[in-house]
């Protein structure tokens, strides 16, 4: 036990813990929108396309996260634009941007002379390398997002649920859709640091579906998803230390395990109730 507590003395671990908590809160808010609108696939497209930006930034000697953010935002806006125009099938467009981004990333990283960046840390995350500046950025974005949802909760909900109807009531639907696309892209890129490109999508879906076992109310799913996100990722982080396994993967594993565990408990409870009724 004292071993476990000793880990908190390390600054890198405290940073990692803070990153896990902040990423969970961020992902809870944005993920609720993604899951409710059934646009998880768009999230996947944005995530993977951002790898192209990371590669390009490396090649040009820029900050890789700036590159990722630029590619993610452009992809998100592009997908929203395509889905509005409807000339190309949306899912095909997403798949194209998804693999094009990955391909570009690999080409640029390959072309970068000399030092080859650690690809693994982008693909699978490296929460233990999170610095103070990253945390400040995560915190600032979290606070901004809480404010945004507090102010614009209703129009965001209405445009997500039934955009055509919302339009007839004078809500600027496309403005909200595009703003939400940008928010999605930035939230995803900020979370890549914690769990990596390949695993990030689970942070935006698993705590939400866990929360949806308890409530089907959009406003309640958000805080509940944050709670499940925090517990799952903190347990994952601790487990990765104890078992000496990769952190990102451990977080995703425990988020999913948590979901299954609660689901099974609920099923057992229901069957127990039914039996009791029969007796």
């Amino acid at each position: 036990m004292s071993d476990l507590l000793a880990i908190f003395e390390y600054q890198f671990f405290r940073h990692a813990l803070a990153a896990a908590v902040l990423t969970s809160i961020l992902a809870a808010m944005v993920g609720t929108y993604i899951v409710s609108r059934k646009i998880v696939f768009i999230g996947g497209g944005i995530t993977h396309a951002s790898f192209g930006g990371i590669g390009l930034a490396y090649y040009m000697g820029l900050n890789p996260f700036t590159g990722a953010a630029a590619f993610a935002v452009l992809t998100a806006l592009g997908i929203e634009w395509i889905s509005g125009k409807g000339k190309v099938r949306e899912d095909s467009a997403i798949a194209i941007l998804w693999s094009l981004g990955m391909a570009m990333g690999i080409i640029f990283v390959f072309m970068t002379p000399g030092y080859t960046p650690n690809l693994m840390s982008f693909l699978f995350g490296n929460i233990l390398s999170v610095g103070k500046a990253d945390l400040v950025m995560l915190l600032a974005f979290c606070l901004l997002l809480i404010l945004f949802f507090a102010v614009f909760f209703r129009p965001v909900l209405y445009t997500a649920f039934d955009p055509e109807f919302a339009k007839t009531k004078g809500i600027p639907v496309s403005v909200f859709r595009y703003v939400m696309s940008v928010i999605m892209a930035l939230a995803i890129v900020l979370s890549i640091r914690t769990v990596g490109i390949i695993l990030v999508l689970s942070m935006f879906t698993v705590p939400q579906i866990t929360a949806m076992l308890f409530t089907r109310n959009f406003a309640r799913i958000m805080p509940l998803a944050a709670l499940w996100g925090v517990t799952g990722s903190v347990i994952g982080l601790m487990a990765s230390y104890i078992l000496d396994i990769p952190t990102g993967a451990a977080i995703i594993f425990f988020l999913t395990f948590q979901f299954l565990f609660i689901r099974i408990l609920m099923l057992l409870r229901d069957s127990f109730k039914r039996k009791k009724k029969m007796v």
Binding site: T32, S36, K38, K87, A150, V151, F152, F153, R154, P155, L157, Y158, A160, F161, D162, E164, F165, A166, K167, T168, K169, G170, I171, M212, T215, R216, N217, F218, A219, I221
Partner: protein, 248 residues
């Protein structure tokens, strides 16, 4: 002189380069109850979207002589995601037009109206339930409340009688009959047999619009209008629908 709420003038529209509607002229008056019939793909829903300002026009005009009327819109059931995490209360209040749409709280007046609307539809007890827990009829009622909460001058309903039981359908028609005293109603249905006795006039949409200034339709008229309707073409026809009428 009576003034129409909406005038469609030579409207031509469609998707990409394909024309779905052309040469559509229609005037909707405040006391109208128009049944819109026509085959699938004939452009019924597209015409509704033109009136609602959701569908860009290739040519023609939509005129609102007294300014854009307050509209209430009930979309087709298939447009609604029943598993979306939204409560009945939230769903119904999304029908309130407000310039102050930021901040999650409704104004006092709006909260009162919401309560009143839910009570009128008998949905008060379900207010905090997510829509996924409602029956087909209850959901349709909630959607109708969303359309009505703003006290519209023009109520537009797209196939309100799909996925609901007969009892709800009867209730719906009684409700619409009362509502028509205060607002114009445009009701789209593929099922002319049921809507014909309650509407005042019939518009048949099949790429073009044919306006029939009464609610009585005969097979001949539908043939002339080139407006095949399922129940007429394939099924037994309730005789109340197909009374012979004198201006033939």
């Amino acid at each position: 002189m009576r003034q129409p709420l909406v005038i469609l003038e030579g409207v031509r529209t469609g998707y990409f380069s394909e024309t779905v509607l052309e040469g559509v002229d229609l005037e909707i008056y405040p006391e109208d109850f128009i049944g819109v019939i026509g085959p699938n793909g004939g452009g019924k829903t597209t015409m509704i979207k033109v009136i609602l300002g959701l569908q860009p026009l290739f040519s023609g005009r939509v005129i609102f002589p007294a300014g854009r009327p307050v509209t209430g819109y009930l979309p087709q059931a298939s447009q609604i995601d029943k598993r979306f995490p939204i409560t009945v209360k939230e769903l119904v209040s999304s029908g309130l037009k407000t310039r102050r749409y930021w901040f999650p709280h409704l104004e006092k007046k709006q909260r009162f109206r919401l309560k009143e609307m839910l009570a009128e539809a008998g949905l008060s007890r379900l207010a905090s339930r997510p829509i996924g827990e409602l029956s087909g009829g209850q959901l349709q009622k909630a959607l109708l409340c969303r359309a009505l909460i703003d006290k519209p001058q023009l109520l537009i309903l797209d196939e309100p009688n799909t996925h609901v039981d007969k009892q709800f359908e009867q209730e719906l028609y009684r409700w619409l009959h009362d509502l028509n005293k205060d607002m114009a109603i445009l009701l789209v249905s593929h099922d002319i047999g049921t809507i014909s006795p309650m509407v005042k006039t019939i518009a048949c949409v099949n790429r073009k619009l044919h306006y029939h200034p009464s609610n009585q339709l005969s097979e001949e008229v539908l043939k002339v209008y080139n407006c095949p309707v399922d129940i007429i073409a394939h099924g037994p026809i309730p005789h109340r629908v197909l009374k012979a009428h004198d201006h033939e």
